[in-house]
């Protein structure tokens, strides 16, 4: 009897862009032509985390042979030699572009070997569109355990014990949030998955949704059971059509299998899910704005309290958790809270998932235990290409900060990063080499914050615009020393006076660069230009800049909220 083989062709956005669909078809043709009954051909989520730029990638299970960067003619060779003849095709194995070393198996690739994949446990190992694959790997086992043996309070206690904190960025203890919602007295409650991953340069949530949607669905059902909700919503960015499709399929399949619907697995507990698509507004990642958007209103945040766990959707108690937070829940139930908390630091339990991008050899997803030093993550990413040196690492996107090379011993941990003026964020990690201009980086993020400000409160609406103006002045060599004082003053005001998280954190990139890279600001002012020549090139081409004059002290043309459509200075 021949061992059954499973060929997994990555069908995530980057691999599809590099020809994965044609490759899949070539495999299909050749497998059919040779009549190989022992081979099943599947699509998968991303298994090339970190190797996306070299796809399309293919894994042959059960042994995990790893082919990367192959073309349709190569598929014929692999089918003939490996799947039919039993001889893996060495020259098509993944080859490290730097060392030139080949790695036969998935697990041998340095990039994966040094990771600890918990949230990403199934990504690339299963076909995300087949619920059986998820179930084969223990999926929905946690749900069955919860429904048959645990009371809702037990689930909350277990999550509290695990030390799980929100992976959306703020790091609020998940168990405590669930407890608040549980305590709120109401006949109707909701669970919402925040999948509005608008942070430029972060794609961790997309990868989980595309690669392992059932993990999120299962996490949501367990959350619903714990807090007493019967209905949940996934708020997904409309810019992620593949994720929307995969999650939709997962919901339907889960419903068919009795994991969603009424009286789940005979427990008497009923729960169902629905997708709500966003429409392109970064601020909707803020939880109260998200709630407004789900209800088809402008995504305007409101002051808290009352917190959504008391007053959420339709005025009812609502728990809002990030994608990765929910994906952790089934594993925590399966393996126990002690196992999870032992993975990280005392304050920050478990693992952290980062989308590693910028001037780094392997762009992609990295999952490491909390407490891992930033420098080690860069090392896992293969370091900086072309023999250059790292200048800064920026985590947390528009809400985060850039840390200089001499602070890269800092551990990945909510408090440690915050103390240094950065933040964990929701998963973006941008690596910058010595050719990057830090004033330009600050201006990029401030420009982003300005155009995404909802325009509701004055500090954020006007302050972000003023900071863009000052930064542009400095970047183009027209700045004065007093501008730095003014910049800090505006940044502090926006930070302390804004209504929501977007405004309160958007000064961080400016404040962190002023702290660690002040000399670069001074050099722009002293020399009357960007010392690295970066700012001039980019100054002329910012979208939304052409033909619009900012009205000092007044509203941008179009009134409140016009910031969103490019009304920034």
């Amino acid at each position: 009897m021949v061992t059954p083989h499973r060929v997994l062709v990555c069908h995530e956005t980057p691999c599809v862009a590099r020809g994965a669909v044609g490759l899949h078809a070539a495999f299909r043709r050749e497998i059919d032509r040779l009549g190989l009954d022992h081979v099943s051909l599947e699509i998968s989520g991303c298994h090339g985390h970190g190797l996306c730029s070299q796809g399309p990638s293919v894994v042959v299970e059960p042994s995990g042979f790893f082919y990367n960067g192959i073309q349709p003619p190569d598929a014929e060779v692999i089918v003939r030699e490996h799947l039919s003849g039993g001889r893996p095709v060495q020259h098509l194995f993944h080859r490290d572009p730097v060392t030139g070393r080949t790695a036969a198996r998935y697990a041998d690739v340095d990039f994966f070997r040094r990771q600890r994949r918990v949230a990403l446990r199934n990504c690339g190992r299963i076909n995300p569109e087949k619920i059986e694959h998820y179930v084969d790997r223990g999926g929905y086992g946690a749900l069955q355990l919860v429904l048959s043996t645990m009371r809702p309070e037990d689930v909350i206690e277990l999550v509290e014990d695990s030390g799980l904190r929100g992976r959306g960025g703020a790091g609020f203890p998940t168990g405590r949030k669930w407890r608040f919602a549980r305590r709120s007295s109401s006949d109707v409650k909701y669970v919402v998955c925040n999948a509005d991953e608008g942070n430029p340069g972060a794609f961790t949530d997309r990868s989980v949704l595309e690669g392992d949607p059932h993990a999120v669905v299962e996490g949501m059902i367990i959350a619903g059971y714990a807090v007493g909700a019967r209905r949940g919503y996934l708020y997904i960015r409309a810019e992620y059509p593949l994720a929307v499709r995969r999650v939709q399929k997962a919901i339907e399949d889960a419903r068919d299998k009795g994991f969603l619907g009424s009286d789940l697995l005979g427990s008497g507990f009923s729960f169902d899910l629905e997708i709500k698509e966003g429409a392109g507004a970064f601020v909707c990642g803020e939880e109260t704005a998200l709630l407004a958007s789900i209800q088809s209103r402008r995504g305007m945040p409101r002051p808290r309290p009352p917190f959504p766990t008391d007053v959420g959707l339709g005025g009812k108690p609502t728990v809002i958790n990030n994608v990765k937070t929910l994906a952790f829940v089934p594993v925590i139930v399966d393996r126990g809270p002690g196992w999870f908390s032992s993975l990280g630091t005392p304050q920050s339990a478990g693992t952290a998932v980062f989308a590693l991008t910028g001037n780094i050899r392997y762009s992609g997803l990295v999952e490491v235990p909390m407490g891992t030093p930033l420098a080690e993550i860069i090392d896992i990413g293969g370091g900086i290409p072309d023999g250059r040196k790292v200048k800064a690492v920026h985590t947390g996107g528009p809400a985060g900060g850039s840390l200089p090379a001499d602070r890269l011993d800092a551990p990945v941990d909510y408090e440690a990063l915050q103390e240094l003026g950065s933040t964990m964020g929701s998963g973006g990690m941008l690596v910058l080499d010595e050719d990057a201009c830090m004033v330009d980086v600050a201006r990029f993020f401030m420009d982003f914050a300005c155009s995404e400000s909802c325009g509701q409160c004055a500090p954020c609406r006007l302050g972000t615009g003023q900071m863009v103006r000052i930064l542009t002045r400095i970047a183009t060599g027209r700045g004065a020393r007093e501008d730095l004082v003014l910049l800090r003053e505006v940044a502090d005001t926006v930070k302390h006076a804004s209504l929501c998280g977007l405004g309160q954190t958007c000064s961080n990139p400016v404040l962190a660069t002023l702290e660690y890279f002040k000399e670069e600001y001074l050099a722009h002012i002293r020399e009357g230009k960007c010392p690295l020549g970066v700012c001039e090139v980019r100054a002329s081409v910012r979208p939304g800049e052409q033909g619009r004059e900012f009205q000092p002290g007044g509203l941008p043309a179009g009134g409140v909220g016009a910031n969103l459509k490019g009304g920034c200075p």
Binding site: R18, R297, L313, L430
Partner: protein, 196 residues
């Protein structure tokens, strides 16, 4: 599972009645000034389809964003006249609909070109030269970001992150064809593919 909204017609019933008493909606629709590209639109057919879409959501005002997504899919953008229709049928004021349309960047008040180019300006693409790429596209097409060429062939839009950071800078045409690691030199070749 039935779609479930928040708010909905029952909550807004009284308000709807008020608007219906005050405004002759058909007259409002007729008075809109139409742009050149709107002359060929068969408004009756469009409005009939819009009504169908809204009926699918039972006229629930809590489904406004979903309705707008579908209507934009149908028409290609959201003309004023259609917004008035949507407002009318969902029992909302036109200003409420307009405020949502202008808040979200995926909703467009202008038609897109036959070939819609989106360029990613996420962090990773930015540090790898997305800004220069955008400038080159603007120069070659002779339009600014957010606009459509006068022959209606191309429109250009900048998005914040397509989530394909490893391939940056990335451009996408018609939400299908992905151009990875695209350089300024490759722009004319890329456009050429869509010329005919």
């Amino acid at each position: 599972m039935d779609k479930q909204g928040f708010g909905g017609p029952s909550e807004d019933g009284e308000r709807t009645a008020w608007y219906e008493r005050q405004i002759d909606w058909d007259a409002v629709g007729d008075r809109q000034e139409s742009a050149d590209y709107e002359e060929d639109i068969d408004w009756d057919a469009v409005e009939e389809k819009v009504d169908e879409i809204i009926n699918e959501y039972d006229g629930d005002s809590g489904a406004l964003i979903e309705v707008l997504h579908e209507v934009q899919e149908l028409v290609g953008y959201l003309p004023q006249r259609v917004q008035v229709r949507v407002a009318d049928r969902l029992g909302l004021s036109v200003s409420e609909v307009y405020s949502v349309v202008t808040f979200y960047s995926l909703f467009s008040l202008k038609p897109k070109g036959e070939n819609h180019i989106t360029v990613c300006k996420g962090t990773a693409c930015y540090v790898r030269g997305a800004a220069q790429l955008i400038e080159e596209l603007e120069n070659q097409l002779g339009i600014s970001v957010g606009d459509t060429t006068s022959d209606g062939k191309f429109s250009l839009e900048v998005v914040r992150c397509l989530g394909a950071c490893g391939l940056g800078p990335v451009a996408m045409v018609n939400n299908e064809d992905v151009f990875a690691r695209i350089t300024v030199d490759q722009v004319s070749d890329m456009l050429q593919q869509y010329e005919d």
